[in-house]
């Protein structure tokens, strides 16, 4: 059936009108949001909000540190510091394991084969176990 035989299509008319108006809006908003004036205005409104958030955050952190200190518990900064230290330990262990692996390869020529991931080498940062089942991005 040709386009002509289909007759008058109201939906198509509405869609065309909508698309036309969206194109016009797209051009208009693009010009607006990419202008320096818009960025200046946005910066003007965002500045006090950011300042308020920073102040609230500082006050909350200070209050929480006081409360946690009184309860003889570690503060937020201390916990964050532990996390960073653990990462450094992870790195040191990773380097150590790589060095040991290098030594093992040098000592035993038969160990020069590529290490297949299905066999665990017992290293802290190695992750053993085959994920045969689909893995979602969330799980990753």
């Amino acid at each position: 059936m040709s386009e002509k035989d289909k007759g008058f299509d109201v939906l198509k008319l509405v869609r065309d009108a909508r698309d036309g108006s969206m194109d016009a809006w797209a051009k208009l908003t693009l010009n607006l949001t990419s202008s320096h004036e818009y960025q200046r205005l946005q910066g003007f409104f965002v500045k006090p909000v950011l300042l308020a958030i920073a102040l609230v955050r500082k006050a909350t952190d200070s209050t929480m540190s006081g409360v946690l200190g009184n309860l003889n518990m570690p503060s937020r900064d201390e916990v964050l510091g532990i996390s960073q230290r653990l990462t450094h330990i992870e790195m040191a262990l990773d380097d150590l394991a790589a060095g040991l692996d290098q030594l093992r390869r040098t000592a035993s020529p038969s160990a020069n084969r590529p290490q297949r991931p299905s066999g665990s080498s017992g290293r802290g940062s190695d992750v053993a176990g085959e994920n045969r089942a689909p893995i979602s991005a969330k799980e990753a």
């Binding site: 809006w25 797209a26 990419s34 320096h36 300042l51 920073a54 992870e90 085959e130 969330k138 990753a140």
Partner: protein
């Protein structure tokens, strides 16, 4: 008449079902079988399960690195539309470095951490597992920027054979062409105040900034396309998968974000030759690996002018600029990518993988 009415009701029911599904559920993305072989902090190195026997596979492993502020599952969106699946089927020993989701404890992480601590260690592990002393590296978006920095600083000494960059934001000379440069101009945007307030750059703000580059298309256009095609299962499935990925953005570590804005967007230090990472000067002439620079012609996030000048700056003897139609994401994850970008990229890598 009654048949027509029944058909209409059935179609409407399908449309409503599809609408409910895409707005209330997450599509299964990142499904190609893989195995985590190494972890450091939040980062994980995955090896995709090969489908070809070892003797039929390419000898040189390929490592994929995606951006810091979105999940790497875009490289493996859904079966039939997955770059990862495509490359595994072509016989590559494929690895992916996933950055994970940074927490408040990671706000200090900067580009030096990623380029000089995480990437070299992941590569060391990949080389150990694959048994190959050389490797190929593919970076996309900020992943391409990190890959370029790594290739310039360590690539030559650590066995980098070839580097593939996809929509790499490296050159910030022509600020009027780069919408994000206007948005992050120091006159209007106080990066330190943002980081003082949040620690890391929140995912919502990054998403908002990206969407405001094309507000009508991003806030309305996507949904009208969905509504127009609610009775088309292929379009609905594709939209659902892409939307699942888009809305699942992740924060950017504060240290890296600050460097990105100050040293790159404002200072253009990489192209000016004044960039230092942990005191080491980044000299693009030291990037000597074979280079494929893929530029998306309709990219509004990283316009072509941000990647093109790299070609004259690097020390590579074997280099190629590839311009492909498409936008920042569509170039690799769009419906036409499997017949456009992927085969071109794959054939280039194949010649440098045995």
């Amino acid at each position: 008449m009654a048949e027509n009415a029944m058909g209409m009701i059935e179609k409407l029911t399908t449309m409503v079902d599809n609408l409910v599904k895409v707005t209330t559920t997450e599509a299964p993305i990142g499904q190609t079988p893989r195995q985590a072989i190494w972890r450091l902090n939040k980062a994980t190195l995955y090896r995709y399960t090969p489908v070809k026997p070892a003797e039929e596979r390419h000898r040189t492993p390929l490592l994929l690195i995606f951006a810091l502020m979105n999940k790497s599952s875009i490289l493996d969106l859904r079966p039939g539309n997955s770059f990862v699946e495509h490359m595994v089927n072509k016989g590559y020993d494929l690895y992916l470095l996933d950055w994970g989701i940074p927490g408040p404890e990671d706000a200090h992480l900067d580009l030096g951490d990623y380029v000089l601590e995480y990437i070299p260690r992941a590569i060391r592990k990949m080389k150990q597992v694959s048994g190959s002393e050389t490797f190929n590296l593919l970076g996309w978006c900020i992943g391409a920027m990190l890959s370029t920095l790594y290739a310039s600083l360590r690539g030559h000494s650590e066995g980098l054979r070839s580097l593939i960059l996809l929509t790499a934001p490296l050159d910030f000379t022509d600020k009027e062409q780069i919408s994000l440069a206007r948005m992050t101009d120091e006159r209007y945007f106080d990066v330190d105040r943002v980081l003082q307030a949040f620690g890391n750059m929140p995912a919502g703000l990054i998403d908002y900034g990206a969407k405001m580059l094309k507000p009508v298309e991003n806030f309305v256009g996507g949904y009208t396309r969905l509504l127009d095609n609610l009775d088309n299962p292929k379009v609905v499935e594709s939209w659902h998968a892409m939307n699942t990925w888009v809305i699942d953005a992740i924060p950017l570590p504060g240290g890296a974000y600050r460097q990105f804005i100050v040293d790159f967007y404002r200072g253009n230090k990489l192209m000016n030759g004044t960039l230092s990472i942990r005191g080491e000067k980044v000299d693009l002439k030291e990037l000597k690996a074979s280079l494929l620079n893929v530029i998306a012609e309709d990219d509004h996030i990283t316009p072509p002018c941000q990647s093109a000048r790299l070609m004259e700056k690097v020390g590579s003897a074997d280099k190629l600029e590839l311009r492909v139609p498409g936008g920042h994401i569509g170039v690799m994850a769009g419906s036409g990518a499997s017949k456009g970008t992927w085969p071109k990229v794959e054939s280039w890598i194949a010649a440098r993988s045995d």
